[in-house]
């Protein structure tokens, strides 16, 4: 059995997205900046894609800027808010400890440039507290950036309430919605969102394309200088096939959002129930305020990379927040942010299921994770010390 359970990493492209792209590559290959017919037809496709994307999140087409993906959108949003803040003498930004590195590393740079950054605690359940956020707002706060849903543990933040607080205090609010777009309902006006980042390949679109929503009146700074594309805010010939594929994928995801979420949630909860039967394991993040497809566990006494590779041998593609899989000595900053100690964070497993995941596959996953965890614990000196009482269990 082959089961792809890493949809938070990337998704399989939808047929609609592929068809939309093929049309741009095979027929409508013009440059949208060209004045003749084939160029203008490409421009029409692109503008239709912009309108489609805007429609899904309740924005105006003129508020959508196409980018190379979520990271670029995050960078541009934060840089833009910082620039606007600087002009008013405001150099304080509020975010959370478990943002994506596209946000955290941009904030780190801004700190080096003289900005002050407050990272909010996300607590054991992986949720920002709105009152704590409000208390952190200062006279010189120019931006609050909080992710819509976390990419590792899937927890969904109280976005609408955060947006309302920001609005009340006149502070810009950006959200990295890379894991949420196409999976959760988003209405930028009702949710009080000033800027939002998204990435196509997380909702069955192509890689290398995303978008930034920036409310009318927000002046974006350019990360790429050159031609006047994207209203002069993002130079370079547009990725027409990419944006057409993204719009097709997003429209389709939005059209089936409710039924997809209901199905995935059922499978998710079945996985959570099954994996909870493993002794000395724990679900990471709140059990209900989480993405319909996200399951994230820590298993005490084992290391995540070994678990992943043995699951791969059994046809299951998943991911882990262990140091070995992150390429550094520290395990996932997200797991550390919710208070998991290093010893336990190394033994994490993320399963991110998709619309196509079946009950039968979920049962297969549970059975195999149980077997592999037991096998690895069988020759783990850490597990031996835990079971012999030499060291106390954490989970």
């Amino acid at each position: 059995m082959q089961i792809y359970a890493d949809n938070a990493a990337t998704t399989k492209m939808s047929r609609a997205a592929i068809d939309a792209m093929l049309r741009c590559m095979e027929e409508e290959y013009g440059n949208p900046s060209s004045l003749y017919g084939i160029g203008q037809r490409a421009k029409d496709i692109m503008e239709q894609a912009r309108a489609d994307v805007a429609g899904v999140i309740g924005a105006e087409p003129g508020e959508i800027y196409f980018t190379s993906g979520g990271s670029e959108a995050d960078n541009q949003a934060i840089r833009s808010a910082a620039e606007m803040g600087k002009k008013q003498g405001k150099r304080h930004i509020i975010s959370t400890a478990f943002e994506h590195h596209a946000v955290l590393h941009t904030l780190k740079k801004l700190e080096q440039e003289g900005f002050a950054v407050t990272l909010l605690d996300v607590h054991e359940d992986g949720l920002v507290r709105v009152d704590e956020l409000e208390a952190a707002i200062r006279e010189d706060t120019c931006l609050v950036t909080v992710m819509f849903a976390n990419n590792e543990i899937g927890t969904i933040q109280p976005i609408r309430e955060i947006g309302a607080v920001c609005k009340k205090h006149g502070v810009l609010f950006h959200t990295d919605a890379v894991q949420a777009a196409g999976h959760l309902p988003i209405d930028v006006k009702a949710d009080n969102i000033d800027m939002l980042s998204a990435s196509a390949h997380k909702f069955h679109g192509p890689k290398g394309v995303g978008f930034l929503y920036a409310r009318k009146g927000i002046r974006l700074v350019n990360l790429i200088e050159g031609g006047a594309q994207e209203k002069g805010r993002r130079a370079g010939t547009e990725n027409v096939a990419g944006v057409a594929g993204m719009a097709a994928a997003l429209k389709e995801s939005a059209a089936h959002m409710q039924e997809n979420a209901a199905h995935m949630q059922k499978i998710r909860d079945r996985l959570i129930k099954g994996l909870s039967e493993i002794p000395h394991s724990a679900l990471n993040g709140d059990a209900s305020k989480r993405l319909p497809g996200n399951v994230n566990f820590c298993f005490e006494g084992i290391e995540g990379e070994s678990l992943l590779l043995l699951l791969d041998d059994r046809g299951i593609s998943a991911s882990s927040g262990s140091a070995c899989t992150s390429g550094s000595l520290d395990p996932s900053h997200v797991l550390l942010a919710i208070g998991r100690v290093h010893d336990v964070a190394h033994g994490s497993l993320r399963l991110s299921i998709g619309e196509a995941t079946t009950e039968e596959e979920a049962a297969y996953i549970v059975r195999n994770v149980k077997e592999v965890v037991e096998y690895l614990r069988g020759f783990s000196p850490v597990w031996r010390d835990l079971t012999s009482g030499k060291t106390p269990f954490i989970l």
Partner: protein, 130 residues
Amino acid sequence: MALYSEKVMDHFRNPRNVGVIEDADGVGEVGNAKCGDIMKMYLRIEDDIVQDVKFETFGCASAVASSSMATELIKGKPVSEALKLTNKAVAEALDGLPAYKMHCSVLAEEAIQSALDDYYSKHPEKKPEA
């Protein structure tokens, strides 16, 4: 290209000499759970020969494979040879490790040295003259 060589994957999937030796002549444990790798080596030594060796490892695939290979390299060998085992020899026997995983082979070398140190602390008369 795959993450690991076929040899690493073979030793990871089918680790040799896994387990515990009760009343071992030397036991060594190195690494810590904080960093994500712990190796424990058990030695049975008779007539200055490593008659048996077993390991337990908490860690990634290269940590398991390094432990496994290290046990193979010293099993049945004179203690004097086991003392000379290097991380380089372990990594080479595995057809190489990714640069950022070389520390796993270092841990394997240290685990065996630590088990031998334990053996000598119990049998100081066996300790070779410096």
